[in-house]
């Protein structure tokens, strides 16, 4: 019964033997997607290949993977070639990959892109690194195949444009696996042993595989390291290699490279002419501008300003002077006017009229006064005369005019009765026009009068 049981090792060895003897498993072509990719520090690559339904553990040892032109990455679809075997310690069957290339795009393209990115990241393409090509090269190195059309194009062009420059062709392989090493060696040689001041590196057109040598990192790094400025001319216009990126100048074609390497004497002459023309122009311009500016300043208002200022000030002064004079005249004439007016009023206020009025009034008073007084006097006189007339009319002695006489005794009494007198008495008899002194001769008394009294 015991014999029925195998050890794990025995089984594993059995399976291993089975697998290794199967001719199909010895060379397996497989398509799949990379996952769990791990690039071990010792150089081996571990990965899984998978598709929708399954996965297989794989390994690619350093000895194989150092020939890869690209770096595998997770998710990358690849085509691989290898053998199936068992890794005994784990009892695990694995695909031992010998070759790998990207599925879909080509491996070379992949490698190109990857290297380009890498070198660009390192800064090998940066414009600052680019060395300038001397205008007048003294010695030109041409690194290319000595037999191709490229070298002919280059040499012809150089001869045509700039025949005085010496040219040295460094023949190299431009196709095949040795290209990179060959080119790189030639560049290094030129740097070490030649007094070139320009290198033209290139070849004619071809497929990507044909041009591949110029895409290799070795060449790129050698070009970057070159002290001599490098003009790259690989393939035709549409072909661009890593070398082109690294080179100091990229020419589209070998002919173009030669044109870039040497100047045309006519171009130089033109350049010199242009510079001189610019020199002249800028000098003349500066001079003209200075002159114009000076003219402008000289013609500016400011240079006429003092004249105009003077004119204006003259006018200002005249105006002020005129105003001053007219003002003083006005002041004086106003004062005169005022004076004349008041003087006229004063002269009208002379008391002549008052005096005249006074006189007239006084005269009137005096006249009136005298008149009144005379009236009064006349009135009094009239009154008196009237009284006097009346009195005169009433004069009791008037009767005598009719012949009567009034006897008065000596005492002045009117003798009315006979018994008032005696014989011999002296009487005064008043008659119309005087009195008569008489003596009483007799006294006779009437009878009836006596009784009556």
């Amino acid at each position: 019964m015991n014999d029925q049981y195998l050890t794990v090792t025995a089984l594993t060895k059995y399976l291993k033997r089975k697998l290794t003897t199967d001719p199909h498993l010895k060379e397996v072509w497989l398509r799949g997607e990379i996952s769990n990719f791990k690039h071990h520090s010792r150089g081996h690559m571990y990965l899984s290949l998978k598709d929708k339904g399954a996965r297989i553990q794989s390994v690619m040892f350093a000895g194989y993977n150092n020939r890869l032109k690209f770096s595998p990455e997770n998710g990358m679809n690849v085509l691989v070639k290898g053998e199936i075997n068992i890794y005994e310690p784990m009892g695990q069957y694995q695909l031992y990959i010998k070759e790998m290339q990207p599925d879909g795009i080509g491996a070379l393209y992949m490698a190109f892109e990857q290297l380009k990115e890498k070198l660009e990241t390192e800064g090998l393409f940066s414009p600052e690194r680019k060395k300038s090509i001397p205008v007048h090269p003294k010695h030109i190195g041409v690194i290319t195949s000595p037999t191709g059309a490229a070298v002919r194009d280059i040499l012809t062009t150089l001869e045509r444009r700039y025949p005085i420059v010496p040219v040295t062709v460094l023949p190299v392989m431009v196709q095949g696996e040795r290209t990179a090493a060959s080119v790189s060696k030639a560049i290094e040689y030129a740097n070490k042993h030649m007094d070139c001041d320009v290198l033209i590196v290139g070849r004619g057109g071809g497929s990507i595989e044909d041009l591949w040598g110029f895409n290799e990192e070795l060449v790129a790094r050698t070009i970057a390291a070159s002290h001599i400025p490098v003009i790259s001319a690989v393939g035709h216009e549409t072909d661009t290699t890593i070398s082109d990126f690294v080179a100091d100048v990229r020419a589209a074609t070998p002919t173009g490279a030669a044109e870039l390497a040497v100047p045309s004497i006519d171009e130089l002459r033109d350049q010199a002419r242009v510079l001189q023309a610019r020199l002249n122009r800028v000098m003349v311009t500066q001079h003209d501008q200075s002159k114009q500016k000076l003219d402008r300043l000289q013609k500016s208002y400011a240079f006429k300003y003092p004249e105009q200022l003077m004119k204006q000030k003259e006018q200002d002064l005249d105006r002020l002077l005129e105003q001053l004079t007219s003002q003083i005249k006005r002041s004086h004439s106003q004062a005169s006017e005022r004076f004349r007016y008041i003087n006229k009023r004063l002269s009208q206020q002379g008391p002549e009229s008052q005096i005249k009025d006074g006189k007239e009034k006084l005269e009137a008073y005096k006249k009136q006064f005298t008149l009144r007084f005379q009236n009064l006097l006349t009135q009094k006189q009239n009154q008196f005369e009237k009284s006097l007339d009346k009195l005169t009319l009433l004069n009791p002695l008037d009767i005598m005019k009719r012949g009567y006489a009034i006897p008065f005794d000596t005492k002045g009494k009117v003798v009315k009765r006979v018994h008032q007198v005696q014989k011999g008495d002296r009487l005064s008899v008043q008659v119309q026009d005087g009195s008569l002194d008489v003596e009483v001769l007799d006294v006779k008394e009437d009878e009836h009068v006596r009784e009556e009294s």
Binding site: E363, Q383, S387, L388, K390, L391, P396, K413
Partner: protein, 80 residues
């Protein structure tokens, strides 16, 4: 007498005179009385007359006094 009379005013004298005249006008006055009245009247009349004359003289004098001073005013008066 005239001096005593002079002391009464012209108006008083005139008044007395007028009274006398009135009395006389009644006609009731006995002759003798009448004669006395009359005589008194005449005296009063004289007084009045004198007074009037005096005043007139005074006036003339005043006029003269002020006349020479102001001949023209006199003339003025003369014209009017």
């Amino acid at each position: 007498m005239s001096e005593k009379k002079a002391e009464i005013s012209f108006e008083e004298a005139m008044k007395q005179l007028e009274e006398l005249v009135e009395k006389l006008e009644t006609g009731d006055v006995p002759l003798e009385q009448a004669i006395q009245y009359y005589q008194k009247g005449m005296e009063l009349s004289k007084v009045c007359n004198e007074k009037l004359g005096h005043v007139e003289k005074q006036m003339q004098q005043i006029m003269n006094e002020h006349g020479e001073l102001e001949p023209f005013s006199v003339q003025e008066e003369g014209k009017s």
